[in-house]
Structure formats: C-alpha cells, structure tokens
C-alpha cells in the first residue's frame, strides 16, 4: 500500500500556517487594546468613529455603482460578441486584460492627466473613481459573464425566442439573464470584494472610501486598525465564499475561480 505522505502533509501544514498565522495574529492583536486581557475594546472604539460608517457607506455606494455600470457595459458586449461578432472576441478579451498591463497607479496617473483638465473634467466628480473601478472589474466581470454565456447555447435560445415572436427586451430579460444568473452574481461578488477593499484609486483621487480610512487610522492608532482589518477581511471572505457557494450550486453551473 501507499506510504504515509509525510512530505505532502509538511507542505500542506506550512501552507495553512502561512494562511492562518497572519489572520490569527490580526484577530489576537485587535483584542489586546486593554493591557493584560482580551477585550473587544478596539472594536468598540472602531464603531464609535462616525467616519467608520461614512467611509464604509461610501465604499458600498461606489461598489454598487461599479457593479451596475460594469454589468451594463460587459453583458451586452459579451452577448453580442458571442451571438453576432465572434471575430471580435480576441479584441474584447485583449481590452479586458488591459488592467493587468496598466497597473492601477499608472492608470490613475494617465486618467488624472487627461480628465483633470478641460474639455472633459472628471476628477472633480466621482466619475473618475467609478471609471477606474470599472476598469479593475473588467477582467473578472467579463470572464464570468463570458463563461456563463458559453455554458448555455445562447444562439439557439435567442433564435427560439425570436421565432416565438419575442422582441429584444423580452429575450434579454426573460431568456438570457435568467440563464446567466450565477455568472452575473459571481462577477458582482468579485467586483464587490475588489471595490470594498480598494485603496489606490480612492486614495490618489481623494474620495472617501473604506481602504483609505483603514490606512489613515493605521497611522493614528494602534489596535483599532487591526480590528477594522478583521472586518475588511470578513467582507472579502464573505464575497468570495458567496462565489464559491454559487459555483457549486448544481450541475452545469459556471465557476469563476481557477479551481475545478
């Protein structure tokens, strides 16, 4: 029979330690505000700060706007490419991979230089921020929507609906969207997770958001930043858990993560 896989266990445990030690340390650290005992004092202090709520609220707002805009931009495009313009697929994919080529800092740098002055001024409004977030979400949103579209035979569904006399609005609303539900939700959860913790865009464009808020209290206080970090981890964790839970929701469903 097989030997006991000692090597594998050692690596596996090392990996788990790398995952968990920082998380446990953060939680432990956040409980140590009062000397000599573990309390939730740091959390109480965190919750007392009105800016905690406003910055979280702003991030929530940015996340919702980004999800809606990103969906409006990606879903019709991916659908149309799949249905009518398969030749354009490589170009669309190229665009959705651009955010990996242009790092966030560099993109911001370019956006401020162009849209910080007339004819089109966006940096004085949240538009520049939302634009940046949409760009960040593009690879994830497009990939999940596209794999969702490939999983169902979109052409047949569309033609069937057309031959039954449905118009485009009906086709999209009653036929396409219900079939894409899991894919859309996955893309939205990922976008949500990304925007809620985002720091670079919000900080450099000086808009209130959760990421810059955590960074700011980090330079002012001890213990509370860790308490807020734990909460931020929870938001990310819940979003990703949501995706993985969706991904296993039955046969033939789509999954966004690279894992099987």
């Amino acid at each position: 029979m097989k030997r006991f896989p000692l090597f594998s266990w050692v690596w596996f445990i090392l990996g788990l330690m790398y995952f968990f030690v920082p998380l446990i340390s953060t939680m432990e650290f956040s409980l140590r505000m009062l000397k000599g005992r573990y309390t939730f004092e740091a959390y109480r202090v965190a919750f007392q700060d009105p800016r905690f709520y406003t910055s979280f609220g702003y991030s929530l707002l940015w996340a919702i706007i980004t999800m809606v805009c990103s969906l409006l931009l990606v879903v019709p495009t991916a659908y149309w490419v799949q249905l009518r313009l398969p030749k354009l697929r490589p170009y669309v994919e190229f665009v959705t991979l651009m955010p990996f080529v242009v790092p966030a800092v560099v993109l911001i740098f370019g956006l401020i230089r162009i849209y910080g002055r007339p004819p089109l001024v966006l940096t004085t409004t949240p538009a520049a921020l939302i634009v940046g977030y949409i760009v960040l979400s593009l690879p994830y949103m497009y990939r999940s929507v596209d794999s969702g579209l490939r999983a169902v035979d979109i052409r047949t569904l569309t033609e069937a609906a057309q031959s039954l006399g449905a118009n485009w609005l009906t086709i999209i609303r009653d036929v396409i969207l219900p079939n894409l539900r899991v894919a859309l939700l996955s893309g939205m959860f990922l976008t949500f997770a990304i925007v809620m913790g985002e720091f670079t865009f919000a900080s450099l464009l000086s808009w209130p958001a959760f990421g810059p808020y955590i960074e700011e209290i980090g330079s002012m206080r001890a213990y509370t930043p860790q308490a807020v970090s734990v909460m931020s981890f929870a938001v990310t964790w819940l979003s990703i858990a949501g995706i993985q839970w969706l991904g296993r929701g039955g046969a033939g469903q789509v999954q966004t993560a690279g894992a099987r």
């Binding site: 920082p22 991979l97 740098f109 913790g197 980090g218 990310t236 099987r260």
Partner: protein, 310 residues
C-alpha cells in the same frame, strides 16, 4: 486552353467541399449596424484605457519647457533614486515570483498528487481563492500584527526562545519584510493556476512511461515537467507582474519609505516630487512596457500550455 481545362475542374470541388450550404443571400456590403452593439464597450476602452496610456507615452517625451526630449528616459537610468526604485521593484517582484512559484507549486503538488485526503485539496483551493484576493491595506496591518514589534509571532519567539528578534536587528519594514507580505497573495495564485494543470497530467502518460521502463525520475524529467513547464513559467511571470504593479500593500506597510516604482509614481501624482512631469510620465511608461512584455510572454506560454489541455 488545355491548362485552363485541367485547372478549372479542380478548383470548383474545393470550393464546395468545405461543407457550407450555398449562401441564400449574398453578403450585404456597406455599413452594418451590428457593430453598434459593441460600440459602448470599445468607446469606454478607448477613452479610459487607451487614451491615458497614449497620453503617458506622448508626455514622457516632454521636456520641462514643453518641447520634445529623450532626456526623461535617460534620467530613468541616470538618476540614482529612480534607478534604485526600478531595481527595488524588480527585485521584490522577482523574489516573490520565484518564492511564490516554488512554494505554490509544491503545495499544489502536495494536495493534488501527494496523496492527501480530498478535503485537504478542497480546503486549500477554497482558501487560495480567498487569500489571492487579500491584498492591500488590511494585509499590511495583518503582518504588522504578526511580525511587528508587538506581533504575535514576535512575542511567541520571545517567550519560547527568550530572544527578541527586533532587538537583534530584525525589521519587517524592509525589502525582506515586504517580500514576506507579498508572498501571502503570491503563492495562493500559483496554487490556483497549478492545481488544474497538475490535474491535467493523465494517468496514461505515467503508465506509458513505466511500461517503457522509466522511473519516477524519468517521468518527471521527460514527461511531466516539459508538459508543465509553460504553465509554471507563465504563472511565475504572472506573479512577477502581480507584485510589480502592487501599490496599496507597499504604501500601507512601509508608509512610502520603501522606494518602489509604484510608490514614486503615487507620490508624483500627489505632488510633483520629481519636479519634472515628463519624468513621471516616463516612469509610468516604463512600467507599461515591462508589464506589456510580461503579458506577451505569458500569453505565448499559455498557448504552449494549452496544447496539452483537452
């Protein structure tokens, strides 16, 4: 005349043997409304991805007086702080890409082929999905709470070994500290990409190798590694780019003390710290170039890797 007769019958069948039914309607030429469906997407891409990149490119040739110059690119190599920023960024990216690739690969191997129970694999893959997204400010604070002056690991070492690592000169606010932090999101990404690749190694290949008298060494040296190599290299390069473009984690962790390219560009945005806008553009353009090369190499390696995926 004879020649035409010989050639003509050949060309007609080739046209009809491609299986397509004859076109009922000839293709409409001229303007097609179909394109309008993707117009908003490409308009967005042009306005907010291509124009900013082009503007960075054009303005990196701008001198202080507004004229054309190549001096900015020369300055990247001449000015020591900018050269050092690039060197530091490249070093952190290379170290964490290599470390992440090595650790991630062995970890993926352990759970996929290493004989661990099924739950270990599910658990690791789920957690890698989460951890590869843990970047930015909270991650920096997590490591302060872990290895900082008052961190959990620091205190445990102190209690167990009666040894204060920080008094001994250890600091996390330097190159190695930042590399350890980056590793947190680097190796899970490697696990996520390597796991399906390792799953794709088919049992028949190993059996074929054994039937031909090959040992485990032969299998890995001549079969498995050559198949996995494009994925391995591609992912390592992806990790490199992942670290190279990172800003938030480094900023929150070192408070802009560590001189990385992204940190300098961030400072340049907040106030013209280089006292030369053109130089800032040239720095940003340098990043785009490096990232483009990375993505091109990655795309090529992916195509190589795709040969073995069915």
């Amino acid at each position: 005349m004879d020649r035409d007769n010989l050639v003509a019958p050949q060309s007609t069948p080739t046209e009809s043997t491609n299986g397509d039914a004859p076109l009922a309607r000839p293709h409409r030429r001229g303007f097609s409304w179909t394109w309008l469906g993707v117009a908003p997407f490409f308009l967005f891409a042009i306005l907010f991805l291509f124009l900013p990149s082009v503007s960075i490119f054009v303005r990196s040739f701008e001198s202080l007086g507004g004229g054309f110059t190549l001096q900015n690119f020369a300055d990247i190599f001449n000015k020591s702080d900018i050269r050092n920023a690039y060197a530091m960024s490249l070093k952190v990216s290379a170290i964490t890409a290599l470390g992440g690739a090595f650790f991630g690969f062995l970890l993926a191997y352990a759970v996929i082929l290493g004989g661990l129970p099924r739950w270990a694999r599910t658990f690791l893959l789920s957690f890698s999905g989460v951890a590869s997204n843990f970047a930015g400010v909270p991650l920096a604070f997590a490591f302060v709470a872990t290895m900082g002056n008052n961190g959990l690991v620091t205190r445990i070492i102190e209690r167990l070994l009666n040894f204060d690592i920080h008094a001994a000169g250890f600091s996390i606010y330097n190159f190695w500290g930042l590399s350890i932090v980056y590793m947190y999101f680097q190796f899970p990404l490697m696990v996520l990409i390597m796991a399906p690749a390792l799953d794709g190694l088919r049992r028949e290949w190993r059996e074929a190798c054994e039937n031909l008298g090959g040992t485990g060494y032969h299998y890995w040296r001549y079969v498995a590694l050559p198949i996995l190599l494009p994925t391995l290299l591609g992912t390592a390069i992806l990790l490199f780019g992942n670290a190279f473009g990172a800003y938030a984690t480094a900023y929150a962790f070192t408070g802009s003390f560590l001189n990385l390219v992204t940190i300098v560009i961030g400072a340049q945005i907040q106030g013209d710290v280089l006292y030369n806008p053109g130089l800032g553009n040239a720095m940003a353009f340098g990043m785009i170039i490096i990232m483009s090369v990375i993505m091109l190499v990655y795309a090529r390696l992916q195509r190589l890797a795709a040969r073995w995926v069915r």
